[in-house]
């Protein structure tokens, strides 16, 4: 086909319009490559159409490109690394978010475990203190038990003389017991049956000879209030025939105040 005839056919105008089939498009392209005058004609037509179309543009749209760039996350970097840079930058952003999220979770976990640790430590402190106080109690209980066992073994000794002391006029409900170990010249007093002495007063223990009535002070019970089992031991080297307990002013008296005789008991005659 004559090339001028080909150009004059109007196919190139339709080519620029995009009105041809895919097959026809390839044919025109082949002709363009073969004949420079066809290419020249196509460029002219295209130029005319773009100018015509642009003449309809009543607004300047060059600023839209900024929005396009923003939407596509485009940077002004050079071509060659562009296709790589964009996806990596996107991925990095995801890693950035994930990284921050992980850091926040990690920090929260750290704070939580520090708080947890502190509260556990204080709990340990409490438990340790409790254990100490329990230990002390066990120690005390052991001591008490030892003392009680000692007392029991003393009371069971066959040489012990047991003297019950009965309540007297000033306090009829009172009672007491004296366990007298003649061998070791000591007595044990069980004063559980006596009321608490009023402030400024103490109980005083007396060894008595009956004929004639001669009282000898064995001592005052200064620790009555603080002692829990109310068992006291005193020395007694006298040939006692009876024991009495009076309430005396703090510090004790030279001779018993008989009006304040709480309990009194006579030693049974030795068999």
């Amino acid at each position: 086909m004559d090339i001028n005839e080909y150009i004059a056919s109007g196919i190139l105008e339709l080519y620029v319009a995009g009105a041809l089939s895919e097959e026809e498009n390839e044919e025109v392209y082949a002709m363009m490559l073969k004949h420079p005058e066809v290419t020249k004609e196509v460029l002219s037509i295209e130029n005319a159409i773009t100018t015509l179309a642009a003449a309809m543009a009543n607004k300047d749209t060059s600023a839209i490109f900024e929005a396009i760039k923003e939407e596509l996350n485009l940077t002004d970097e050079d071509a060659d690394d562009e296709p790589k840079v964009i996806p990596i930058a996107k991925r990095n952003q995801i890693f950035l978010y994930v990284g921050w999220a992980a850091a926040i979770i990690f920090a929260a976990g750290l704070v939580f475990s520090v708080v947890q640790n502190n509260s556990l430590e204080s709990e340990i402190e409490v438990v340790r203190a409790e254990r100490e106080s329990l230990k002390e109690k066990i120690y005390e209980a052991n001591n008490d038990l030892t003392a009680a066992n000692e007392l029991l073994s003393v009371l069971r000794t066959k040489d012990i003389i047991s003297v019950p002391l009965g309540g007297q006029a000033v306090s009829p409900e009172s009672y007491a017991k004296v366990y007298w170990d003649k061998k070791s010249n000591s007595i044990y007093l069980d004063l559980k049956g006596l009321p608490e002495p009023p402030p400024g007063k103490v109980y005083q223990v007396w060894s008595l000879k009956l004929n004639p009535l001669t009282p000898t002070s064995l001592g005052t019970i200064d620790e009555f209030l603080t002692d829990t089992d109310k068992v006291f031991d005193l020395e007694n080297a006298n040939e006692s025939e009876a024991f009495g307990i009076t309430l005396e002013p703090a510090g004790g008296s030279e001779s018993p105040t008989l009006e304040q005789l709480y309990t009194l008991g006579v030693v049974a005659s030795t068999p």
């Binding site: 004059a8 056919s9 109007g10 196919i11 105008e13 339709l14 080519y15 620029v16 319009a17 995009g18 009105a19 041809l20 895919e22 498009n25 390839e26 392209y29 196509v42 002219s44 037509i45 295209e46 130029n47 005319a48 159409i49 773009t50 100018t51 015509l52 179309a53 642009a54 003449a55 309809m56 543009a57 009543n58 607004k59 300047d60 749209t61 060059s62 839209i64 490109f65 929005a67 396009i68 760039k69 939407e71 596509l72 485009l74 940077t75 002004d76 970097e77 050079d78 071509a79 060659d80 562009e82 296709p83 964009i86």
Partner: protein, 176 residues
């Protein structure tokens, strides 16, 4: 820069080449889109979408398939027609259809600053009615030869030559 090189770089996702191509074609593409949607704001929105679409499928263009402008023109016409057909779009100027491009060129004040302004206005002003319609259908509506022939009620074989004659007048006016 040689347009072939620009297109090659564009296909390799070169933002600078993309910007150059945008600067070359944004007015034409916006004009074509506005010719269809007949609303400046919507046309700008569609223009943005069209170039984003072009960027995203830039690898799909080959020169064997046609001119780069024609490829863009196709995307633009399809996007604009989709927009017009979409539910959200209310087209109040349906009746201005055929000679809208002539009208918009004649009333385009911003055109006066451009080169060829006088030529193109002169061309449009004395354009025969049959040319207005054929140019509108073939270039701005994307009709095929057959569709154009049916719309103009002329024989299929006449479309090519009549269109060529109309474009010849345009080229004379523009001196291209």
């Amino acid at each position: 820069m040689e347009i072939e090189l620009l297109i090659k770089k564009f296909k390799n996702k070169d933002a600078k080449a993309f910007e150059s191509l945008y600067a070359m074609y944004n007015d034409s593409i916006f004009g074509v889109i506005n010719n269809i949607v007949k609303n400046d704001d919507v046309a700008m929105e569609v223009t943005q979408d069209v170039f984003i679409k072009a960027w995203n499928k830039s690898e799909s263009y080959t020169s064997k398939k046609g001119r780069f402008f024609t490829w863009l023109l196709n995307i633009a016409r399809n996007a604009a027609i989709d927009k017009v057909r979409s539910k959200s779009f209310k087209n109040a100027q349906q009746n201005l259809d055929v000679d809208f491009f002539v009208h918009s060129i004649e009333t385009n004040d911003s055109l006066d600053q451009k080169t060829n302004a006088i030529g193109i206005k002169k061309y449009v002003g004395k354009l025969a009615e049959k040319c207005k319609r054929i140019v509108q259908y073939i270039y701005f509506k994307g009709y095929t030869q057959k569709e154009t022939a049916e719309a103009l009620e002329i024989p299929l074989g006449t479309v090519k030559t009549r269109n060529r004659n109309c474009i010849k007048e345009l080229r004379k006016a523009l001196e291209v």
